[in-house]
Amino acid sequence: MAALTLYEKIWQAHVVHEAKGQPSLIYIDRHLIHEGTSPQAFAGLKSTGRKVRRPDLTFAVMDHSVPTKNRDLPILDADANAQFEALTRNCRETGVRLFDMHSHNQGIVHVIGPELGITQPGQTIVCGDSHTSTHGALGALAFGIGTSEVEHVLATQCLVQFKSKTMLVRVNGKRPKGITAKDLILAIIGKIGIAGGTGHVFEYAGDAIRGLSMEGRMTVCNMSIEGGARAGMVAPDDTTFAYLEGRPFVPRGKDFQIAVDYWKSLPSDPGAAYDSVVELDAARLAPQVTWGTNPGMVTDVTGRVPDPSSFGNDVDRHAAELALKYMGLQPGTPVTEIPLDRVFIGSCTNSRLEDLRLAARVVDGKHVAKSLKQALVVPGSRKVKEAAEKEGLDKIFTAAGFEWRDAGCSMCIGMNDDVLPAGERCASTSNRNFEGRQGKGSRTHLVSPLMAAAAALEGHFVDVRKLNVNGSE
């Protein structure tokens, strides 16, 4: 039998129908929905008289527009309220399980999927959100879809898909102190460019990836889409199985053993072929900071804001000029001299317990810089929040001058009140530094939780390697 990749194995196990010259009909094991991209899909179903085929495999949560404080007060944002009401009504009418704003299990959809064990190896998982790639960290094939496809999955529990190409992203070596999963993925995107993975599914491998915790792997897979790939995955291993055991939606006892036996058959066969291979040496990486308006515009913390004229072609030069103008940055400025207005620790990229522990370790007993207007910590889920509070992390953050909020997407996308004002500059642990992403005219620098925490203390970026802390637990 031919040697297969992880991607090919999952694909083959999910083909419902295939015909020559046509895309395949692929079965979907888990459909995650949220208030942002589902109302039109439910409306479409209703207008055509179609039903939700598998409400038991569909999971809904409120995350994009939820307030992160005063959740017990009425919601004044009428549009957001309409979204919440629509999702509640749609779930009630169709029998879909909903984790609403007040649920004990509420959180960012890509945080609660793995946390509740909804996400498992070998599954196909979709959600109307491009960061669905996160779930690939558990060895699932997970990708973002548009609202028309959300409607398609609701009606059929299947998707019409063309097979993707595969790219092996191998990160060798050992991460030095202060280098986190976030730095790995930013460096990967910096290397291949934000369209480098278009048409591909990434499989991350190598010692540096194996050495990451599940949470670190989620951070890496989360940003696959920022490298152009719809999905990114890591082959399941003992770290994965240990993470999953005992989670609410994971099979128990003998069933768990059956599952693990199957999961162990998923990793790519020796000699399996990829369409392309990219290699990186983790040992040589420095902490990463983005300077521009897409995640590929990234450099080392020891670097400088680039001069557009240093780019080899007109297209990149022009893009860099526009980016520096928007970001209000001068070429040649050392990254460590960029002054900050706010710091945001949160998002589906970096809001899990490990991320909060790392940041807390840096700020423990210290205080955010006087020049800072706001420093915000938004846990990825209520369970993360609860666990962090049990360890006293909330007290460390608030004593240091951070605000400690309720779970949601928050300032990563600014659909609630957590908006970065125009012209202000933020060190953010989120995933997109696009123009206007955190608020109209806002300026985003993407960094790791360690880098964000250290920057909050100083009011500008600092090289966290000097703090001598590990980049993971």
């Binding site: 129908h17 109302p39 059956i258």
Partner: protein, 213 residues
């Protein structure tokens, strides 16, 4: 879905690489519950000054591009968020055709669900289209999906590649949910076959804690 066979229309140029879907429809407009009405919002932050006054420096506000229905763009068009609000905005504004050297996967896919034809040409061909659009006021292009060509009145003729199945669906304006439901039996058979030996694919609905308030 509105079928697409061929279209001739005024061309507007958007000379930027990596135009992401956040630029097409910013997040504050992603809270609406409809699929319509995003044309006014398209490229909002670029298109409007404070008070929603048209920004005279933004290309779509140039009088010569008013009424454009063919958008020419640069590489990696539509990257970022999966929001279908972006193609809804493109369509509602009046664009039926977007031509670029490359598209991001999710946006490309979303176009076909909404009767928009995304055409991929080479960077050199795109340069030529940008040049011609700049040079001639009222410059028009024709997209013929059947023949897979882009052409103008002065003899320019480019052939483009497109997946035959996508072409077929777009030309007929097919409802792909309806097509998939024709495989209902296969879907049911798939579900039944997998059920007994694969407990991990079924939601094991253990009791989870109830909402606190």
């Amino acid at each position: 879905m509105q079928p697409f066979t061929n279209h001739t229309g005024l061309v507007a140029p958007l000379d930027r690489v990596n135009v992401d879907t956040d630029q097409m429809v910013p997040k504050q407009f992603c809270k609406l519950l409809t699929r319509e009405g995003y044309g006014r919002i398209l490229f909002y932050d670029w298109r409007y000054l404070p008070g929603e006054k048209p920004n005279p420096e933004f290309v779509l506000n140039f009088p010569r591009y008013k009424g454009a229905s063919v958008l020419i763009a640069r590489a990696n068009f539509g990257c970022g968020s999966s929001r279908e609000h972006a193609p809804w905005g493109i369509l509602d504004y009046g664009f039926r055709v977007v031509i670029a050297p490359s598209f991001a996967d999710i946006f490309y896919n979303n176009c076909f669900k909404n009767g928009i034809l995304p055409v991929t040409l080479t960077a050199e061909q795109m340069d030529e289209l940008f040049k011609r659009t700049e040079r001639k006021a009222g410059y028009q292009l024709t997209a013929d999906l059947e023949k897979q060509t882009i052409s103008d009145e002065s003899g320019l003729l480019y052939r483009f590649e497109i997946d035959p199945f996508r072409k077929h669906c777009l030309m007929k304006g097919l409802d792909d949910i309806g097509m998939s439901l024709e495989h209902e039996k296969a879907i049911t058979a798939f579900e039944q076959k997998r059920h007994p030996q694969a407990t991990m694919f079924e939601a094991v609905d253990v009791k989870i804690s109830q909402p606190q308030n």
